[in-house]
Amino acid sequence: MIEYAWLIPLLPLVSFALIVFVTGRNRLLSAGISIAAIAASFVIAAGVGLEFLHNPETVEYGLPWVDVLGLRVEMGVLLDGISVLMLLIVTFIATLIQIYSLGYMHEDPGFSRYYSYMSLFAFSMLGLVVATNFLQLYIFFELVGLASYLLIGFWYEKHSAAEAAKKAFVTTRAGDFGLLLGILILFSLFGTFDFTELADRIAGFDNIPLLTLLTVLIFLGPVGKSAQVPLHVWLPDAMEGPTPVSALIHAATMVAAGVYLVARTYFLFANAPVALTVVAWVGGITALFAATIATAQDDIKRVLAYSTISQLGYMMLALGVGGFTASMFHLTTHAFFKALLFLGAGSVIIGLHHKQNIWEMGGLYKKMPITTVTFLVGSLALAGLFPFAGFWSKDSIFAVALEHGQVALYWLAVAAAFLTAFYTFRLFFVAFMGRPRSDHHAVESPPSMTGVLVILALFAIGVGFIGSPFIKEGFGHFIYFGKPHVEHLHMNIALTSTAVTLAGITLAWLVYSVRVTSFETLSVALKPAYLLLKNKYYIDEIYRWVGERVVEGFGFVLQWFDRTIIDGVVNGTGTLTEAIGRRLRVVHTGDLQTYALVILSGVALLFAILALVDPVKVLKLGGIL
């Protein structure tokens, strides 16, 4: 199957083209083509995965894409542990979500367009995963950004959706600016974009400050794409897109592309310890920071969005402290349980006719039992309770942080874990338990949706075991940097994290379910903190001010400069020429006698001058000599 791996990204591209050019008018055919393509990609990916399990060797092949003097770039396929893993995750979850979307989107007039964008996304994401070199990676990094832009702005007639799409693109672009610069520096130093060649050449490179600089620049790309502080602001707004999109792109796969990029180029980071520290701290701060905001959000999708940011922070933290395997493991478990949570939220939103405010929900467990149970599974996995998937991956991050002596980061992560449990169950208790908080008539979603929820729930329970210490040659045997990773049982860490998680859940239960104290009293008592969190630390406001006042203001200043100074000179030159002409025009009287007089005077004058300078010549001219 490995020789057919190039088909994995290409099939969705074919389906995209077919929908755009051929089947656009036929809704069901479009959806069918798209689902068939991604399912076929999954089958091939599964075949590749099986072969890889038997024979875990890196395979690489490609075709030249640009080949000019001084530059040769390939489009190719690189299959190793992490790319095979990502191929499996992306194709599997994308298949499920495209099936789920049949029910979710079936009334939408843009149904075909939706599936064409989904195919475009699958193509871009899979092309990114198999990239053999930096340029290919950058190309597909941008293309997933395009798919994200199109899907966030899917309902483009909504002002907020159009604005969110633009914001997402421009914010991640700012990160890609750094990425592009990093790639340029890298190329100027090593003359290649190829990962394998670079990994060889980097080892002997001793200008560590420069390596650190370019690595940090490259890291800016992932900061944007994986919504790390301070470029996280676009992800919560991206929830304007259809919910299956939020599940696939803005939770399970695309936002993890930044994490994947760091993992793919880990040979750079591993040789630049300072850059690695930057990664760890950006991740750690993001994990805690986003978790605090999530505790004060009212929109079910926004809670989950901040949770995603926080969990991506965990993955970055893991990479930063040297936990390559732990990071990829968390990426894997997170993809399943967060997709589950988002699709569960989608089921609720459909069931409630597009209500998203958790304070208008309540009591859903009676009306939507499957959604509730699966959502509970997802919540437990996210909170990281034994034996759900999140427990294993989170513990392995904690363990690696302690192993590498990063005590401060460890406690940061533990604090975030407490908050995670708290906000997750705040959401669960408020939205699903208790009595209905508004006059809603919730109904359970159709089987095409709940079926997907059940499948994902099974994974959210079980997928953690592949990386647990119980399996000898598990996750870390295939996914590692340097040498294979063996997972041990860390009793202390497991107990600490379980205690913290239970504390978080209990607190949420006390406040939002038993209501020992009402949250209203709490929000009044902690008003300044509550307002700060509810308004997301006012970061959006600050950025908007900078964007509108500073950047755009500068544009207006330059516009004034262009119109007034530069054009002033240009028009001034014109006016001056005209004015000179107007003065000179006086001379052109049209009166022959005047002209004759002027000519005569001129000749006389010339003679006079010549006579003074060279009298002999004048006399000769006059025929006298």
Partner: protein, 494 residues
């Protein structure tokens, strides 16, 4: 196909078309003849493009007819890897332009098409001429009809725009004429053949002087900052097809001249002035993007974005290495197609809505889904999204120029963020958001209106997916150019 003067066919088909049109009365016939004439050029260009022998390189499809022996002037044409993409660009843009004028131009249809086709003949001539005398003649032919086209069929402040453009460009060409005569005399070869002129080793001081003349003359046409203000005003004032040709092709004449004449004939001069050009180019690219952000008229946005993107071209030219020059030529093609698409779309909207003031528009994607989709694609091209040829062009420029001017390259790259911001904002303002009742009656592009859209979008995507079909060809031209001028030392880490 040996013996068939393909380049002359490409060059003269529009001129013949113009002559035939003069004899016609009905508007419809005029349009058809213009379409046929430009189709002939397009098909012949495609044939030449597909049959250029990259392995051999150099000037191909050459034709030579002596004209003024005493001055060594000859009608001699030829294309190489540098000029061929630009010939193709011109053919694509004029073909698209004729169709873009199909419904928009209703007054004095005959005169419009005659002027348009004559202009294009001039442009083709510049890109094909191997003789400097003809080069200049064609250059003037391309500039003069522009005045008429803008002043008669234009819109916003058309007389001012037309006059500003013409005076600017004529002042520029006055410098060129001095430069050309100076080179002709200094060479002592008694020939206007560019290759012959280039084979002479001029002394360094003279090269610096001559290149400065070329730099100003050609630079004005390429919207070199701060001599760029004629260009947005000209774009805005011009009718659709003229804006397309103007931004799409005419501005490339300047950049092409700097490469073909400036760099080829006076390489040491180019080398001496390159750091200055790089600085002005980077200022132009960032400045153009920033000013574009402050615009409210769609055409002004695109006008300033052209200043910004031509800044990239000039930056690539200043890099004088294989990658930066290849990028510069690719960018000329890519920007030409992209900006022609932009103007075609804006023209459609303006013809229907009679305004380009963005705050008044909104939600047009409902009535005009095809126009909206094409506009977004043009926008993505302009912000350098991979999958469209513009990305490859900009990337080559950045990679090439970074090695010579790292700090300036960083500044140039920064403008891609600003570009994303203003382009996507235009798309949002005009096409997205709730539909506006006032525009409920607008109709989408259809029939002939789709011709330019499909052709231009298709070109961007085709070469975007298969860039080596263009960069490989350009490479042959660049390699022989670099061999000719020898090693170049451009200094400094700034």
């Amino acid at each position: 196909m040996n013996g068939i003067p393909l380049l002359s066919i490409i060059l003269l088909a529009p001129l013949v078309g113009a002559l035939v049109i003069m004899a016609l009365r009905q508007d419809r016939h005029i349009r058809v003849v213009a379409a046929v004439a430009s189709a002939v050029s397009l098909v012949a260009s495609l044939y030449v493009y597909a049959n250029y022998d990259s392995a051999r390189g150099g000037m191909q499809f050459t034709e030579t007819v002596p004209w003024i022996d005493q001055l060594g002037v000859a009608y001699s044409l030829g294309v190489d890897g540098i000029s061929l993409p630009l010939v193709l660009l011109t053919a694509i843009v004029i073909f698209a332009g004729v169709f873009a004028s199909w419904t928009g131009i209703r007054e004095r249809v005959k005169e419009f098409h005659v002027a348009l086709l004559v202009l294009v003949t001039g442009v083709f001539g510049v890109f094909m001429a191997r003789d400097l005398f003809f080069f200049l003649v064609f250059y003037e032919i391309a500039v003069i009809p522009m005045y008429i086209l803008i002043a008669v069929w234009g819109s916003t402040r058309k007389l001012y725009g037309a006059m500003k453009l013409t005076i600017y460009l004529l002042v520029g060409s006055a410098f060129l004429i001095v430069g050309v005569i100076a080179v002709f005399l200094a060479s002592g070869t008694g020939s206007f053949d560019i290759a012959t002129l280039a084979s002479v080793q001029y002394d360094e001081g003279f090269q610096k002087f001559a290149y400065l003349l070329f730099l100003f003359g050609f630079g004005v046409l390429a919207a070199l900052w701060p001599f760029h203000t004629w260009s947005p005003d000209g774009h805005v004032a011009a009718p659709t097809a003229v804006s397309m040709l103007h931004a799409g092709v005419l501005m490339k004449l300047g950049a092409y001249g700097l490469l073909r004449v400036g760099l080829w004939v006076t390489p040491e001069g180019a080398q001496a002035w390159a750091p200055l050009v790089a600085t002005l180019a980077v200022i132009g690219s960032v400045y153009g993007a920033m000013v574009a952000m402050a615009q409210r008229d769609m055409k002004f946005v695109i006008g300033y974005s052209s200043v910004s993107h031509m800044g990239f071209v000039l930056f690539g030219l200043a890099g004088i290495n294989a990658l930066s020059l290849n990028g510069a030529v690719t960018q000329m093609f890519a920007h030409g197609v992209m900006t022609a698409l932009f103007f075609a779309l804006v023209g459609l909207i303006y013809d229907k809505a009679h305004t380009r003031h963005m705050p008044d528009l909104g939600g047009l994607a409902r009535q005009m889904p095809k126009v909206a989709a094409a506009f977004v694609i043009a926008g993505l091209a302009s912000l350098g999204l991979p999958g469209l040829i513009n990305f490859v062009a900009e990337f080559l420029i950045f990679v090439g120029s970074y090695q010579v001017y790292p700090v300036r390259a960083v500044l140039a790259v920064s403008s891609i963020v600003v570009t994303a911001a203003y382009v996507l904002r235009v798309a949002k303002w005009v096409f997205f958001g709730p539909p506006v009742e006032k525009w409920a009656g607008l109709t989408d592009a259809r029939g002939v209106e789709m011709v330019p859209i499909v052709l231009l979008v298709g070109t961007l995507v085709f070469f975007g997916f298969f860039p080596s079909l263009m960069t490989g060809l350009i490479d042959t031209g660049i390699v022989s150019l670099l061999e000719h001028i020898g090693p170049i030392q451009l200094g400094g880490s700034f």
